[in-house]
Amino acid sequence: MPTAVLTGQTVARKNHTQIGGPDDAFGPTQWTVLDGAHSPDPARRRQAVASVAARYWKPVYAYLRQKGMRNEDAKDLTQAFFTEVLLKRDLIRKAAREKGRFRTFLLTALNRFATSEHRKRTAKVRRPEGGVLPLDAMTDGMPAIPARCASPEEAFAHAWASSLMADVLGEVEAACRQAGQAKHWEVFRQTVVAPALQGAAPPALSELCERLEIANEVKASNMNVTVKRRFRSVLRTKVRALVGSADDLEAEIRELMEILSHPGAGGEPDVRR
């Protein structure tokens, strides 16, 4: 049975009365969170922007660092970007009308902002009072910039994809555990995730079966298939929320893959202070 049926795409495509929505109709996206920035309530506006900022500050920060900014300057400008750019009504209204991919919107806005700031050559600290992000208090650290990221755009894409992937993997693991499939998750993590993300050599299935007390390699392989399906579903659901239409979903994934596969974007992360 095709995956499309499971996610309601095929069955609900022409039926707009189904909860869940057809995949090709406009569905709630990251734009909808920004809708809160239109609220007449200033607290709600700040909350909407803060919500988006908390989610996407890492790619913005990574971009600015790759532009050559020092840590503190990049933090200040990251704060300023979300406070000044996203809170500007005109920009949000314009973006909302255009829809499209949220990543592209953010990167375009960031490019313009960085260029404008460079022109102003301001030495003044741009951190607004009570800015939307408590960057100094962030406990989950700053994003690494892979040593071979050739451009700020690649650094942005890497941080963007890293955050997305961390989200997806977290949700997949939680769903596996809820389904009583902790071993399934472990098989997937050791054979797919760890080799991909950390360059670790995948263990032999026979060895894995012995360690995890799985009956045989066929069973282990099926476990992988199960989690891969879940992973695919979660990934597509999350990417779908970041693009304007179902058509953009696969294009977005391909574009991110293209950027990340760029020779300049691979390699080990460096540590910058």
Binding site: T7, G8, T32, R65, V271
Partner: protein
């Protein structure tokens, strides 16, 4: 503050490899009923109230009138500031959902959304928007918590609502 890696040292090429899974065709093994329910529930929670349905054109209490397609159902069901009227609407909508195709799956999802709305009313408004008694509700919530295909966020939601109901019955 350094720029230490926070995502477990994710390699760019590795990220690309994992993203590729999102484009792969399915392996072809038959889906289990639980897999179908899980996937359909995930899609439902990421989706929105459909446009053009009663009260679907505007959701009161959202600052400006938000079109039906603008808020993910998960946000509505798990958000403390979702108006009670919206939760009542979701409950009634879930009750009326057709289940002609894939009845087991659709019914499971509709039941989940129905009780999620009731749970939200209890947790965030202290209101019972159903004629089910507290003991009854506690049992339903408990049953949903145990479902292997249940979204983990809803598991916590139902567990919290169950606790409230159990307190009422003591």
């Amino acid at each position: 503050m350094s720029t230490e890696e926070v995502t477990g040292g994710m390699r760019s090429d590795g990220l690309a490899g994992l993203l590729r899974i999102g484009l792969e065709a399915d392996e072809g093994r038959a889906y289990s009923l639980d897999e179908k329910r899980e996937a359909r529930l995930r899609a439902a929670l990421a989706g929105a109230l459909p446009p053009g349905t009663p009260a679907g054109s505007a959701l009161p209490g959202f600052g400006r009138a938000a079109p039906a397609g603008s808020v993910p159902l998960a946000n509505l069901l798990l958000g403390a500031d979702t108006p009670l009227s919206t939760l009542r609407w979701i409950k009634e909508y879930a009750k009326a959902l057709p289940a002609a195709a894939e009845p087991d799956t659709r019914r499971a999802v509709a039941t989940t959304l129905y009780f999620a709305a009731i749970a939200a009313a209890l947790r965030f408004h202290g209101e019972k928007i159903t004629t089910h008694g507290c003991a009854d509700l506690a049992e339903h919530f408990g049953s949903l918590v145990e479902k292997r295909w249940m979204d983990p966020k809803l598991v916590k939601h139902f567990a919290a609502a169950q606790e409230l109901c159990l307190e009422e019955t003591l």
